[in-house]
């Protein structure tokens, strides 16, 4: 018997039709001709309105946050299961993370459908606190996107460095509330809920970038595997690795490292400065 979930999954993932190649080529060629003709008959409009779409990028950040939550959740299970007899007291890790004023880290990934996610050359630097969030995306060592949100001032700024363009807009109260509600790893209740739903095992200790770490590996209910390495002395995460398969069957890996915890982002000047020669989007 198929469940409703199985039917939803089947429709989502298995019902995928494609145009036959000859028709596919013909249609694109016709579309390009139509586009060209329309350009010849009427001038293009050149005053685009500011869009509201950038906010959706925050979902990427929240996704990463959720991954951290999930992996930290494994840590709590470790604590609950063993009484914290190892070098790392995992409950303390959760407390440290929750209390951290802000964090900066690097994230890299494979398997994304985003053609700009060109592992191993691409990576993203995240800066996050309760109210501030900034994401800088790099490709080939060059920055090409910056997305910034400030929930206190309700400001959203997007910078397309590769196109020398930017967008600035006010966030609606609804969006601010929604962003605040999804606190990610700063939500202890979320941590606990996730902690109770996963199993794990110890990976022992190893030195990462000169820091003695202790690691655990767990498997989530969706089959994703997370590995969390925490500094024995500091009690903060040093390296997080996640492997998961999405609904389309694509295997993704995400690595988060270069963590800087307890950063005062308001003092770091995380709001992007838009160069004078950039045009509004």
């Amino acid at each position: 018997m198929r469940s409703k979930n199985a039917i939803e999954e089947t429709i989502r993932t298995k019902l995928n039709l494609t145009f036959d190649p000859p028709l596919r080529g013909q249609l694109l060629a016709r579309a390009l001709r139509e586009q060209e003709q329309s350009q010849e008959t009427e001038p293009a409009l050149n005053r685009p309105a500011i869009r509201r779409m950038i906010m959706k990028n925050s979902m990427v950040k929240l996704g990463i946050a959720a991954v951290i939550v999930a992996v930290l959740g494994i840590g709590i299970v470790e604590f609950l299961g063993t009484g914290g007899t190892s070098g790392v007291v995992w409950a303390e890790v959760a407390k440290n993370v929750e209390a951290s004023t802000g964090v900066i880290f690097r994230a890299r990934g494979t398997g994304s459908r985003d053609p700009n996610d060109d592992w191993p050359n691409g990576y993203t630097i995240f800066s996050r606190s309760a109210a501030l969030s900034r994401m800088d995306k790099y490709r080939g060592g060059q920055i090409y996107r910056t997305i910034y949100t400030n929930l206190d001032t309700k400001t959203l700024i997007g910078v397309l460095h590769d196109h020398k363009m930017y967008s600035k807009e006010a966030m609606s109260d609804e969006r601010v509330q929604s962003a605040r509600a999804q606190k990610g790893w700063t939500d202890p209740q979320g941590l606990l809920n996730l902690a109770l739903s996963v199993e794990h095992h110890s990976l022992g200790q190893k030195t990462i970038d000169g820091v003695l770490c202790e690691g655990i590996e767990g498997t989530g209910p969706d089959g994703s595997t997370g590995r969390l390495w925490v500094g024995v002395e500091t009690g903060y995460p040093v390296l997080i690795e996640v492997e998961a398969t999405d609904k389309g069957g694509i295997r993704h890996t995400t690595t988060m490292d270069q963590f800087r915890w307890n950063v005062d982002l308001s003092a770091e000047g995380v709001e992007p400065e838009v160069p004078a020669d950039y045009e509004p989007l």
């Binding site: 018997m1 198929r2 469940s3 409703k4 039917i7 939803e8 089947t10 429709i11 989502r12 298995k14 019902l15 995928n16 039709l17 494609t18 145009f19 036959d20 028709l23 596919r24 249609l27 694109l28 016709r30 579309a31 390009l32 139509e34 586009q35 060209e36 003709q37 329309s38 350009q39 009427e42 293009a44 409009l45 050149n46 685009p48 309105a49 869009r51 509201r52 779409m53 950038i54 959706k56 990028n57 985003d114 700009n116 996107r145 997305i147 997007g158 397309l160 196109h163 363009m165 967008s167 989007l281």
Partner: protein
Amino acid sequence: MMEDQLLKWKLRRGSKEALAQVYQMYIDSMLTLAVGLLNNRAAAEDVVQDVFLSFARSAKDLRLHGSLRSYLMTAVLNRVRDRRRQLRRQASRRDATSYVSTQPAEPVCESAGPEQAAIRAEEAIRVTGAIAELPDEQREVVLLRLKANLRFRDIARLQQTSVNTALGRYRYGLDRLRSLLNGEVNR
């Protein structure tokens, strides 16, 4: 997403590269939705061609605040509804009993090997056939939700109904599909 925003900006400036990119990104999803809604591959291909050519003609004037995906899927839905009305009129004139193909569409599935492709194609045919059994409203909600990733709020607006009604149609649709597909398995 910002990349979506950039594509729209490029389209307004007549970028062929942007149009080709939109085509690669969405054309198969549009076809899948249209086939699901019409259960007639030839008619669905016509619908998608009409929609995309119209999109190409008007891309320079694009002024949409939502996502391109949502825009294109909504355009497919609207064109499908026109097509249904047209087919109903023709069917009525012919005194026909059905306005769509009685056979499910033959999907072409993306897959690594021929064996797996055959299994997936068979599954897709079964599902497409079952979806065709649903009333139009339920079929729309199920496909717009699962294949176009539209929110129930947006689906409700497209169906000019309440969110609760859209949710109810979705639930009934899935119940019916479950019954149809499980019945098929049990036979």
